[in-house]
């Protein structure tokens, strides 16, 4: 029963697509493939960039002047790398990295060849954002944790990262959206994706409907990502997403008397 409803719906969508975007309907298999390629590039490059960016961003905060483990050499090294790669336009970076990608990954084309340049294009931006997010953690919290005997690792994993979660979610959202933008350029190394689909099939053949649908699809993805990020960031502000209840399981409600803070003798 359910299946038939979904089937009916698919038929209906196909019918609508046929009338609204006849050219896209003609290339629907190619369109689906492109969407898939974009998605693959997005999550693979995104995941790697997330990890590296988080590490690099944390390193920047920790080693900078006034950081919890000041180290000018490490800081300037990380800082310079980030600055250099941030200032290279992505399309140039994509081409510049071709020989290195081939050496490391084995191929410089298709989705596999696009991951590395996407990571290089995302990490510098993301680590800067992480740096800003972590710098937003109040100095006092760090000091309190130090007074309780936390070392560098304790401060990073028990204070900096957990306290910055809402800010980290926000900057991750921004970076994810910019990564979607970058994947559309990956067509330059033959990785396919919605970007090159829109150019090759839409622009080059003057099929306007193809371009329009690509724009709408990317717009929807962006809106979903942004709302997801905003929602999560809000849900984790000043609290954990899932709170572990530790209250005494006595069954009875806690005494309301201690509501007043002047109950002390």
């Amino acid at each position: 029963m359910n299946k038939s409803i979904i089937y009916q719906l698919n038929i209906w969508i196909a019918e609508q697509l046929k009338t609204i975007a006849p050219n896209l309907y003609k290339y629907k298999v190619k369109f689906a493939e492109s969407g898939e390629a974009t998605l693959e590039m997005f999550w693979k490059a995104g995941l790697i960039a997330f990890v590296i960016g988080l590490i690099l961003g944390t390193l920047l905060v920790v080693t900078k002047r006034g950081g919890i483990r000041r180290n000018p050499i490490v800081y300037h090294l990380a800082n310079t790398i980030v600055n250099v790669f941030r200032s290279i336009p992505f399309i140039i970076l994509l081409i510049f990295l071709i020989p290195y990608t081939r050496a490391i990954v084995g191929t410089s084309i298709k989705v596999k060849g696009a991951i590395m340049p996407l990571v290089f294009g995302t990490v510098p931006f993301y680590s800067r954002q992480v740096e800003v997010a972590l710098s937003g953690v109040e100095e006092g919290k760090i000091e309190a944790a130090r007074s309780m005997g936390s070392g560098t690792l304790g401060l990073i994993f028990r204070v900096y990262l957990p306290e910055a979660v809402p800010a980290l979610i926000r900057v991750t959202t921004v970076t994810a959206i910019s990564l979607i933008g970058l994947t559309t350029m990956a067509g330059a190394v033959g990785a396919g994706g919605l970007g090159s689909f829109a150019i090759n099939y839409g622009q080059n053949q003057s099929y306007e409907d193809i371009v329009n649908v690509c724009v709408v699809v990317l717009l929807i993805v962006t809106i979903i990502l942004q709302s997801l990020g905003n929602g999560l960031s809000r849900l984790t502000f000043n609290r954990k997403l899932i709170t572990i209840r530790r209250g005494r399981k006595t069954g009875k409600a806690a005494p309301a008397a201690s509501e007043s803070i002047t109950a002390e003798s």
Partner: protein, 410 residues
């Protein structure tokens, strides 16, 4: 016992340098509540941060009971045996009760370290681990609470317990115990954002006490609270001090806080301790100008200075009159010394201000008044009062004023 000797600390900034601590030496007895008062920028915050090495003094020594002696050379902490104590250099432990971890001998290869050894025999650089161990033995609370906003009250309090060898069950028990102590048992699952300022500070106190420190540092802990919450937090601190015997070092810019709970107080100005003593003595007999200012700020008699500055009608005196401040010494508040003197020497007292209060069970009182009558008799009366434990201070004397005026005419 916390003992600091000759602490110096200079902050070098772009605009020049700030000498936050200048040759500060203090001795804080075990189990006491010790106040440090000063205006902002006086160095009190730096001093308290130096005690748990959140800040490194440039030079000086810090002795904290149970942790041995920390010597600071060029802004780096060193531990080891004291200089000039050859008897102790034989044994592995410099003193009984000191953490063995801090006094184990290690190999020395570093030339810089060797240079340091010349300065003080058998000193070793304090490792990060040793510093963290030290910090865990000293609790600290702050003006802005500094709780982790994304952790519940439970997790905040359990923070330092995770560094101890406690099972999760023991941690839970300890947290519940602490919540009972600070009277917030029903807030165990609350987040700091759901608490009032006073409640946040209670959680912060519970958190600071979690790892069973012997010392609690309080950095302006009540400065961001309303009067009710301030009182309740001060009561809690006093309880903590009495019940658990924890030494509390309290820094503040409010004399009322010192008056409420401290036993001894150090007054700081421009990185120096300008006056130190029992709170009673400081209140009864402030010496330094800044101390007088602080005392005035929290006492009725303090209004006098303001009235004098304003040249109030109330304080104007006619020829033959004297404006006098009379302060009773500890045990003599209840005695009628002044009226006795007035009767005996035949002068009148026009009462302007009077105040009596209790400080740690000791009465503290004084009177400001205008004495009129025969100047000679008044002087005799003042001498009589001094003999009978009333400190007098002539603030204005019409005769003296006239004399000086005549001198000016010549």
């Amino acid at each position: 016992m916390i003992e600091v000797q000759h602490l110096n600390k200079t902050f070098r900034q772009k605009g020049g340098q700030v000498e936050a601590l200048q040759d500060v030496s203090l001795c804080i007895p075990d189990g006491s509540i010790y106040g440090v008062i000063g205006y902002s920028g006086a160095g009190k915050s730096t001093l308290v941060r130096c005690l748990n090495l959140l800040e490194y003094p440039d030079s000086g020594k810090i002795r904290i009971g149970g942790f041995g002696e920390i010597t600071l050379i060029h802004g780096k902490p060193y531990v080891g045996r004291r200089k000039n104590h050859p008897a102790e250099s034989a044994g592995a432990d410099a003193e009984p009760g000191s953490a063995a971890e801090l006094t184990e001998p290690t190999e020395l290869n570093d030339p810089v370290e060797k240079a340091v050894q010349a300065d003080g025999p058998s000193l070793r650089k304090m490792t990060a681990r040793q510093q963290n161990t030290l910090r865990r033995g000293i609790g600290m609370i702050f003006q802005h609470f500094n709780l982790l906003d994304r952790s519940t009250v439970y997790d905040n309090i359990a923070y330092s317990l995770k560094y101890t060898k406690r099972s999760s069950r023991e941690i839970r028990e300890r947290v519940c115990e602490l919540l009972d102590l600070v009277n917030l048992s029903d807030k165990i699952d609350a987040y700091p954002s759901q608490l009032s300022g006073g409640q946040k500070q209670r959680v912060a106190i519970a958190r600071a006490l979690a790892a069973e420190p012997r010392i609690l540092l309080s950095d302006e802990a009540t400065s961001a609270l309303d009067p009710d919450a301030t009182e309740s937090i001060l009561n809690l601190l006093r309880d903590v001090n009495r019940k658990l015997g924890i030494t509390i070092v309290l820094i503040t810019h409010e004399m009322a806080v010192i008056k409420a709970i401290a036993e001894r107080v150090a007054v700081m100005e421009n990185g120096r301790v300008v006056e130190e003593g029992s709170v009673y003595d400081i209140f009864a007999n402030p010496q330094a100008k800044i101390t007088r200012k602080f005392v005035a700020s929290s006492s009725l008699l303090g209004r006098l200075e303001k009235l004098m500055d304003e040249d109030a009608e109330l304080l104007r005196i006619r020829p033959g009159e004297m404006l006098v401040r009379m302060v009773f010494e500890k045990e003599y508040v209840g005695q009628a010394v002044i009226t006795n003197a007035a009767r005996k020497f035949g002068f009148d007292l026009n009462l302007i201000l009077a105040n009596a209060e209790y400080l740690h069970g000791c009465p503290l009182g004084g009177i400001v008044g205008i004495l009129s009558g025969d100047p000679e008799k008044i002087r005799e009366g003042i001498a009589y009062m001094a003999e009978n434990h009333v400190r007098t201070e002539v603030l204005r004397d019409e005769q003296v004023d006239h004399l000086s005026a005549e001198h000016l005419d010549c």
